[in-house]
């Protein structure tokens, strides 16, 4: 059994051999009202939801809790208060059922989401991780052997979607809404300049400011500018972010011999990003991997996938293990 409570989704999965029997997630809609995750509220809701999610996961899996062989949990990175709920609950289950406890790194799990459907990827591959909290280019040498080659210097890709979405009056998290509205818009209508940062890194803060001023100027001319151009705005903004995300990946592919390309994290649910990454892989004639939608945003299925490997290696932790906000 795997437990994920790093941000605002309470998720529990049950994995048996190679199959995920249940992957139950309770989302916390309440944060939309505040335009972002409120940590104390998130912690309270995890505490409130966790038993129901547990019961539902056990029911869906069709197994009896006495059959569980290990309990895995997200140790971090994430919100400390949220993580603590999952860690405390997991420790109690392990202690009470007298079975081992496995600590999982949330970012490793985002990558491992790939292995759920691709159990035998070709290494090394480049993995672009884009989520609400992270944007990294990762050189994956083996299942759990990586090197981070680039990161964002400020906001994460998902955060850029969410913050710009907020400027466009879209509800939090705005990523999925932008994706949906962009389908009906013109991606070439509005152009923005790309922030130049060294090596394989990213920066989204300049772009955010550009959009802010652009909207302000346009609204002076037409008070309804945002609403009447929402589809084109979403399409252009999404196009800018996706194109920008791909630039250092393409650069890296020229420099190294790469045997695969992958995109993971919440933003890997984005249609344009999936297609563009796939095209890049096709151009280089290498396999492309992306997790199934249900394993893109935070979920315990991906935690279970890491736990599966750790269980085989008997990589267990003791009951004094604590959550870590940062790794």
């Amino acid at each position: 059994m795997a437990i994920e409570t790093s941000c605002d989704d309470t998720s529990i999965a049950v994995l048996k051999e190679d199959k995920i029997l249940a992957n139950v997630t309770a989302n916390q809609e309440i944060h939309a009202k505040y335009g972002g995750v409120v940590p104390e509220l998130a912690s309270r809701n995890h505490e409130k939801n966790i038993v129901r999610v547990f019961n539902e996961a056990i029911n869906q899996s069709g197994i009896d809790q006495s059959e569980l062989d290990a309990i895995a949990f997200t140790q971090g990175p994430g919100l400390l208060g949220s993580l603590m709920v999952g860690v405390s609950f997991a420790k109690s289950l392990a202690l009470g059922l007298n079975i081992p406890l496995i600590a999982v790194n949330h970012l490793q799990a985002h990558i491992a989401a790939l292995y759920i459907e691709n159990p035998n990827p070709t290494f090394p591959f480049i993995c672009l991780l884009v989520s609400g909290g992270h944007t990294q280019i990762i050189w994956v040498k083996d299942f759990f052997s990586y090197e981070i080659l680039g990161s964002t210097l400020d906001d994460a890709g998902g955060e850029a979607f969410d913050k710009i979405g907020k400027m466009l009056d879209l509800p939090y998290p705005a990523g999925p809404a932008i994706d949906r509205l962009a389908q009906k818009g013109d991606p070439e209508r509005f152009k923005f300049t790309y922030s130049k940062v060294p090596d394989f890194n990213y920066s989204f803060s300049g772009f955010k400011t550009q959009v802010l001023y652009f909207l302000r100027d346009q609204e002076k001319l037409d008070a309804n500018f945002k609403a009447s151009n929402i589809n084109d705005l979403c399409a252009s903004i999404q196009h800018h972010i996706c194109t920008y995300l791909l630039k250092p990946v393409a650069k890296l592919m020229k420099e190294r011999e790469v045997l695969g390309l992958a995109v993971v994290g919440g933003v890997s649910a984005n249609a344009e990003l999936r297609i563009e990454m796939q095209k890049l892989a096709l151009k280089n004639q290498i396999p492309f991997m992306v997790p199934d939608f249900q394993y893109c945003t935070d979920n315990a299925g991906m935690i279970a996938e890491v736990a599966k490997y750790k269980f085989e290696k008997e990589d267990f932790v003791t009951l004094d293990v604590v959550a870590k906000a940062r790794f």
Partner: protein, 227 residues
């Protein structure tokens, strides 16, 4: 004989205790402030091992359920619920201030006083406060009080009370000497023995899927509600 595990995580120190219906069998406290998240399960494990008891032998988990530190409340509650699910033990909730009334340092001769007021820290100048009669009946509700507030001070000085808990020190500096201040941190899992034994006998258990700690304070954020 039923076996009950008491858990106290609402204050600075975390403690656990094991009871049967007639006595406290053993208890443990860790006096390293705010290390609940690393210590709690080790304390439980050691306590049970020393008493040669398996987790599955537990009949109930008695939780000091708040108010107190939010993080502490959640560590206690998530842990108690997890342990109850895993072992099939029942969950018993004892409001933290009510549990404090069973603290052994309370004087036997209390005739000079009319009430016991439990005060625990609620950050800034605030304390969580609950008043009880000497017969341990609660008077009104648990409140969040600002002890520097003169109206609050006047009210609290209205009649002599025994003031206990981590807020007693703060109170002693601000209130009149008519009260008896017991500044010892009155929180300990062993205090849960009497009230949880009574609840166990009456089968007053909490539904696991619905239980939550007693925060006793509206959640507050600076984050603006967006349009």
């Amino acid at each position: 004989m039923p076996k009950v595990l008491g858990i106290e995580t609402t204050g600075a120190f975390c403690s656990v205790a094991l009871f049967n219906e007639s006595r406290v069998i053993a208890s443990k406290i860790n006096k390293q402030a705010n290390s609940h998240s690393s210590i709690l399960h080790l304390l439980i494990q050691e306590l049970l091992q020393e008493q040669h008891i398996k987790p599955s032998d537990l009949d109930a988990i008695a939780l000091s359920s708040g108010p107190g530190s939010y993080t502490g409340l959640r560590i206690g509650s998530s842990s108690a619920k997890g342990l109850a699910i895993a072992t099939g033990a029942k969950l018993i909730s004892i409001p933290t201030h009510y549990g404090m009334l069973f603290n052994p340092t309370l004087p036997n001769d209390t005739k000079a006083f009319k009430h016991v007021i439990c005060l625990t820290d609620a950050r800034r100048n605030d304390v969580f406060a609950t008043a009880y009669s000497l017969d341990k009946d609660r008077i009104g509700k648990t409140a969040v009080l600002d002890l520097t507030d003169e109206l609050v001070q006047t009210q609290l000085n209205h009649s002599a009370s025994i003031i206990i808990g981590s807020g007693a020190e703060k109170a002693e500096a601000l209130l009149s000497p008519i009260h008896l201040y017991l500044k010892d941190d009155a929180l300990h899992a062993a205090n849960l023995f009497e009230p949880s034994t009574a609840k166990f006998a009456n089968e007053e258990f909490e539904p696991l899927y619905d239980f939550g700690p007693l925060y006793e304070k509206e959640f507050y954020t600076n984050q603006k509600v967006s349009k």
